[in-house]
Symmetry: C2
Subunit: 244 residues, 2 copies
């Protein structure tokens, strides 16, 4: 809200799924409680819905968009590569802020994790990937990283995405990525960064999907509030001067 202009910012909250899922409306109330005066929530029930021009105004005039959702697969199935998705990406390239919460965060990059099993060791069958919104390349985001055993599925997603960076976000924690490709950490938890840019070896056996996959040369950083990860330089640093 601050980045988008404060309480007068026009913020559109986007959710997918049935009307029974009031996810978007709960976020709308939270923004109003925080003082936002020009806030709207749009729910897309189907891909056909994502062509509707009636929603265009809410997107065209928005200062910021927040993607929300519990169901990563449904976000991808409903929104990816639709006119609405293209418009969001186009406006983001022009400078409009786009945020994601929960599965909505995972949806922001070019590809996303939509499902998988728990476990630390990467195995070919441990993760399912799907197209995301495409705002960022070479990045995989997973959420609720602290409470769930999601390292293996993240590593496997990265094995499929050469030179990508994986970001696991704890609850009550956020990362702000600027146009300078720097990620700033905010909140009470941590962000786990796994960098594959110096991966020396990774072997996937497509016909032996439950075989563990060796990955040699990963870099791992645990970042807390005040830390910055430069995604271009592949370098983490402790930055005590907040400049979001």
């Amino acid at each position: 809200m601050e980045l988008c202009g404060g309480t007068k910012a026009r913020i559109t909250i986007i959710s997918v799924g049935s009307d029974n899922d009031d996810c978007g409306y709960r976020y709308e109330r939270a923004f109003r409680d925080a003082g936002a005066r020009r806030i709207s929530a749009v729910n897309f029930e189907s891909r056909a819905d994502c062509n509707a021009e009636s929603h265009d105004a809410a997107l065209t005039s928005a200062d910021g968009i927040l993607m929300v959702g519990h169901d990563a697969a449904m976000l991808s199935e409903t929104l990816s590569a639709t006119p609405i998705a293209r418009q969001i990406a186009h406006r983001n390239a022009q400078g409009m802020h786009v945020a994601g919460a929960g599965a909505g965060a995972a949806f922001l990059p070019r590809q996303m994790i939509v499902g998988g099993q728990g476990g630390t060791t990467p195995r070919a069958d441990i993760v399912q990937l799907a197209p995301g919104l495409g705002l960022i390349d070479q990045l995989v985001i997973d959420q609720h990283f602290r409470h769930q055993d999601r390292l293996g599925r993240m590593l496997m997603a990265l094995a499929y995405s050469p030179r990508a960076i994986g970001i696991g976000i704890d609850e009550d924690t956020a990362g702000f990525i600027g146009v300078d490709q720097k990620l700033q950490v905010v909140g009470s938890g941590g962000i786990t960064v796994i960098d594959t840019s110096q991966l020396q070896h990774s072997a996937i056996h497509p016909d032996r999907s439950h075989t563990p996959v060796s990955m040699i040369g990963l870099h791992l950083d645990i970042l807390v509030a005040g830390s910055v990860y430069d995604m271009s330089a592949h370098m983490a640093s402790i930055n005590t001067s907040p400049s979001v």
Copy 2:
């Protein structure tokens, strides 16, 4: 068994706890089923028990010892720094093989994880450490790494142990560490190696125990059967010629 001389090897299985826990005896049966002819199991119920000379013979004459147990804290409380523990370490320095299964593996290095909470992000209160057998320095071993969410507690144990290497072992998987300090992986799962030798930053706030701890500059390798980790050179490699 092969390393110790085959079916004629004298192998002593060591467990701790009450007589009701037949953990050691189940391993004894497994070795007999595999053809071992000179196998014995010794259970220590208390630290006082670990001074008993009656057990000395089983240790002095053994070609190999296997430490077993479910309860890491009980292993440390019962055995660490006892005459029995010192004798095992002394004989291992002379060349006797020592193995560990389950918590028995975690018990082999100088310090061990005896408890902790699940989670990916290291926090000061996430792990409890206790003295181990002391056969290896600068190494922390955790087991059942695949099925449980143990990255955070391993990272926190490493934050307390500068320049240490952390090894997380999947089920149905083993690591063989030779006198050359090379770790060889055997089994159907993976071994997660976390190397802190190039850690650039780690901040522990002792008075804010639930605050996440930032750790920058960790190296992460996932090794599968055939891989080798050189603990002196801090380097992993794919070695397809087994030479255990």
